[in-house]
């Protein structure tokens, strides 16, 4: 029987009530008395020098409060980068300055050059048109491989080249891997592009800066996945505001998918300008601005080689990837193609030798950073595509080749420096074959052929790493932040609880799922527990939500804090019951003395904590509030197997998804309904990448896909219903909940199966097609068939 509350129950989401009635509180819904609006004048060329910027006419326009340019920010720190990668020669990456407003040079279309603060947004926009801006265009670099050739225009004059770093992993294995390739019985090579994407949360970014002159306190309301991180980065590195004078609030946030992790110029500007203008200052991004200022995702060009021995065992993997950084280093950009990508190259397979080379490159494009999956989709895509290609070259079944090479014993230390604690890749593949009815595929193919359509089946596995940790290890790898999470559990006198978490919900349903855990631990109703998140003023320092870490890391912190609560409440109960602490049991919201009918209710204990009349004051402080910081000892490793069936129209090249099945192992599951929803959304984004989405630039660095007219977002009629299962559960061994994280799996696991399926469909028709680069638009598929 499904549970109706606690861990494992599909509790309906409490936050839905406000979202369904228009009562949400998103950042753009916040308006502060006296606020002014800012409009950013952005560069319309990709690369150039600012020859002239005259704001005098704009300053005289109606409603204008003040006009800012890069000169106003010369004394201000630049935008910081939160991760320093060390290259294969032991040298630190090249790290360019990143100004709040462009000064002297512009380096990508959309870079803010000036900012007009005015009474209304319309007045600010009108005045921006009156700014006399002359930019002398310079040759732009857009293509990564061209950018690192001798004589290429440099994005940053003060760097030695456009190469940010040349990373080798594991560098010590380089020669051994090369030798394994020399001895291989078969080598499969695949060159591919992992297409540039834009995360596109439906809520555009917003920032509202406020300043209280009387107390010298700054407040920033912002669309962020991690308000504490923004407070630290902006306060310490950009504006020089100590944390105790800076509050960052991220209220209801309309989706993030990674792109709202990063600290952006507009946040720093609004905070700065609120003090400079002595007015609250608000910025609301338009969608067009979002396309040219939100950090983009993916954009790798890769050559992967897979060496096999004579028995088709994987012997070695060697990759060379060019990773686009864009014009500047976004907050965590350097970590994505390295530690979030190279460490995943073993996948689900026992390949003894792996070498990953990544060249990160500056170009005159919008900065690129983490987008749902961040490095892991890129690793999974190349690995699962090259395995499929190898199977076809060798004439073996792609599933059998995978099964033959599965890791089957855990813990398993990969040759790329991580240790998988648990998993059962055979079980997830077995479940996939059953759910997707793979044995019935041939009949379905014949039926499609009878209608003139080419049917293809694609399968892939994936492994991902969630809850990046521990802090001391990631510090050695170059992170300039810790990766713990925090929770304060405050029990009120009448027994209700408030959990203040450092993680942040922007669609994941923390307000519903987190209480399920505590309700189970104490035995009280979920409705007695409230989750507070998103405000640095009333939550402990935490790192926020990304990398599918909220439950595995933030939930674990909450469990630890609740354990402290229960331990103290047990002492109080033992006093009230006049029994030994070791005899006290907590069940169904009551403390009882084992083997007796003596008990005291949860509410009586909590009341005693705050009205400590009958209370062991000499041994125990009053009150019932505890905080825990949880720093995981390892990543978690969700895994799964996905299958996609497509039909290709041979006349037009149009691909339609006929069936999509996802079998995931997330370890223990707290709310199956929410987990399933996360997988649905991830699959939709993965199919979007595979078939529809492409962030395109022309050779001059002009962004060609800056609206929903040009960037193909998946719509309802592009997608089928999904078959999703997470009944294969190998619990994580090193966090108290045994959970692994589910937010990114769908986006990581789905693109290869779609492409594998299309290739399968075309080969079934005798077409000699081994690969098509994403997105598999009708034009590309049709061209490949000719």
């Amino acid at each position: 029987m499904p549970k109706d509350s606690g861990i494992g129950a599909s509790s309906k989401r409490r936050e839905d009530i406000r979202f369904l009635t228009g009562a949400g509180n998103y950042t753009d819904d916040i308006n502060i008395r006296g606020q002014a609006h800012v409009y950013f004048l952005r560069s319309d060329v990709a690369h150039g020098t600012i020859a002239k910027i005259d704001t005098s006419a704009a300053e005289g326009m109606p409603g204008v409060v003040r006009v800012f340019t890069g000169a106003d920010f010369e004394a201000i720190g630049g935008m910081p980068c939160g991760w320093q990668v060390t290259d294969r020669h032991g040298q630190p990456m090249q790290e360019p300055k990143h100004p709040v407003l462009a000064h002297v040079k512009v380096r990508h279309v959309g870079e803010p050059v000036a900012a007009v603060v005015a009474e209304t947004l319309e007045q600010a926009r009108d005045a921006a048109e009156a700014i006399d801006l002359e930019i002398n265009a310079l040759p732009a670099v857009v293509d990564m491989k061209s950018a690192v050739t001798d004589g290429a225009p440099k994005v940053h004059d003060d760097l030695t080249s456009n190469l940010c770093y040349d990373w080798g992993f594991v560098e010590e294995n380089r020669e051994a891997v090369n030798e394994a390739f020399d001895k291989a019985a078969h080598v499969t090579t695949l060159e591919l592009v992992n297409n540039r994407l834009v995360a596109n949360p439906m809520e555009p970014r917003v920032a509202v800066g406020d300043y209280a002159r009387g107390t010298d306190e700054h407040t920033l309301y912002t669309t962020s996945q991690n308000p504490h991180v923004i407070r630290l980065l902006m306060g310490a590195f950009v504006l020089g505001i100590p944390e105790h004078k800076l509050r960052v609030v991220a209220p209801d946030v309309g989706g993030g998918f990674g792109t709202k992790i990063f600290h952006y110029q507009e946040e720093a500007f609004c905070t700065f300008a609120a003090k400079a203008c002595n007015r609250p200052v608000k910025w609301t991004s338009s969608r067009t601005e979002a396309f040219m200022s939100d950090a983009h995702g993916r954009d790798h060009v890769t050559k992967i080689e897979l060496a096999l021995d004579a028995d088709n065992n994987f012997a070695a993997i060697r990759t060379e990837t060019f990773a686009n950084m864009g014009a500047y280093l976004s907050t965590f950009a350097p970590s994505v193609p390295t530690w979030l990508h190279g460490t995943l190259m073993a996948g689900n397979y026992k390949t003894p030798l792996i070498y990953v080379n990544v060249k990160a490159v500056f170009t005159n494009t919008v900065p690129v950073d983490a987008y749902r999956g961040a490095g892991r989709p890129e690793a999974t895509f190349q690995l699962e595509r090259v395995i499929d290609k190898a199977a076809r070259e060798l004439g073996v079944d792609p599933i059998a080749l995978r099964r033959q090479n599965f890791v089957t014993e855990f813990p398993y230390a990969t040759p790329v420096a991580v240790e998988y604690d648990t998993g059962d890749y055979v079980a997830t593949m077995d479940k996939l074959e059953e759910m997707a009815d793979l044995s019935g595929f041939d009949a379905r193919r014949k039926e499609s052929e009878a209608r003139g359509k080419l049917r293809g089946l694609g399968v892939n596995c994936y492994i991902e790493a969630c809850g990046i940790a521990p802090s001391n290890l990631v510090g050695q790898l170059g992170a300039r932040a810790g990766l713990y999470e925090s929770a304060t559990v405050r029990v009120n006198a009448t027994g209700g609880l408030v959990v203040m978490t450092g993680s942040h919900s922007h669609g994941q349903g923390h307000e519903t799922a987190f209480p399920q855990v505590i309700a189970e631990m104490i035995g009280i109703d979920e409705s007695m527990i409230e989750i507070v998140h998103g405000d640095t003023a009333n939550t402990p320092m935490g790192m926020g939500t990304y990398g599918s870490r909220s439950l595995a890391v933030g939930g674990s912190a909450m469990v630890r804090a609740t354990e402290k609560i229960i331990a103290k409440a047990t002492k109080i109960a033992s006093h009230l019951l006049e029994a030994s602490e070791s005899d006290i049991e907590l069940k169904d919201g009551a403390f009882s003395v084992a083997g007796t009918d003596k008990s005291v209710a949860w509410g009586d204990v909590t009341l005693a904590a705050y009205v400590p009349h009958n209370y062991p004051l000499e041994d125990l402080e009053p009150g019932l509030e505890e905080t825990a910081f949880y720093d995981p000892s390892n990543f978690t490793y969700p895994s799964g197997a996905y299958a996609c069936e497509v039909e290709v129209d041979p006349d037009t090249g149009k691909v339609s998804i006929e069936a999509f099945t996802a079998v995931d192992d997330f370890g223990n599951v707290v709310n199956p309904m929410i987990v399933t929803g996360q997988v649905h959304g991830g699959i939709a984004q993965g199919i979007g990448q595979a078939l529809l989405e492409n962030c395109a630039y022309d050779e001059n660095g002009q962004l060609l896909s800056a609206s929903y007219m040009d960037y193909a977002m998946p719509r309802a009629d592009d997608l089928p219903m999904f078959a999703v299962d997470h009944s294969c559960q190998t619990p994580c061994t090193h966090n108290p909940l045994g959970v692994k994280g589910c937010g990114e799996a769908g986006a990581i696991g789905s693109p290869p199966s779609v492409v594998n399926a299309v290739v399968d469909a075309l080969q079934s028709a005798g077409k000699d097609v081994t690969h098509i680069d994403m997105p598999l638009s009708p034009a590309r598929v049709w061209a490949a068939m000719q």
Partner: protein, 161 residues
């Protein structure tokens, strides 16, 4: 500036607007009805869908002055008179048809318009109708399911939410 008057969720509403003020801005900024969201600037995303004289309209495609004298319904007016969720809203909660909630008001308003003109839509009809509403969180699976459930159809054969 021009004065504009209309009926919003059954109540008289008026305000001074510029000629270029969009209905979406008037609802959000002048009437503080912030449930109507703006997710794009090309009338593609559908987060701002409201009903004007009973028809689903993207409030970002219409000037406030064009709604002079109109009957406008927004997400804030959709709940039952006792404040409980109406059948569509309830189906969205029951079937997990929303995550971040940003596209949700537009989805609910579009769903209401669809069910008014087609009380028992097929899955394909729901998907086609939602062509003008973009959701980035749900993959649409549970939205489609919720709308079909709200129409009174048995959705138990559709994979679990």
């Amino acid at each position: 500036m021009a004065q504009v008057s209309m009926t919003v969720n059954g109540k008289a509403a008026s305000g001074d607007v510029e000629g270029r003020t969009l209905l979406s801005s008037f609802l959000r900024d002048s009437l503080d009805l912030t449930g109507t969201h703006v997710g794009c600037d090309t009338s593609q995303c559908g987060a701002c869908v409201v009903h004007v004289n009973g028809e689903a309209v993207k409030a970002c495609t219409m000037l406030a002055v064009e709604a002079q004298g109109a009957e406008v319904a927004t997400i804030e007016g959709m709940a039952n008179p006792d404040g409980s969720l109406n059948v569509i809203q309830q189906a969205f909660q029951d079937h997990h048809g929303l995550q971040c909630g940003f596209c949700t008001p537009g989805m609910v308003m579009s769903a209401a318009a669809l069910l008014k003109e087609n009380p028992k839509p097929t899955e394909a009809e729901v998907r086609e109708y939602l062509e003008g509403n973009i959701c980035r969180c749900t993959g649409y699976h549970n939205i489609v399911k919720a709308i079909m459930a709200a129409s009174g159809q048995d959705v138990s054969s559709i994979a679990a939410e």
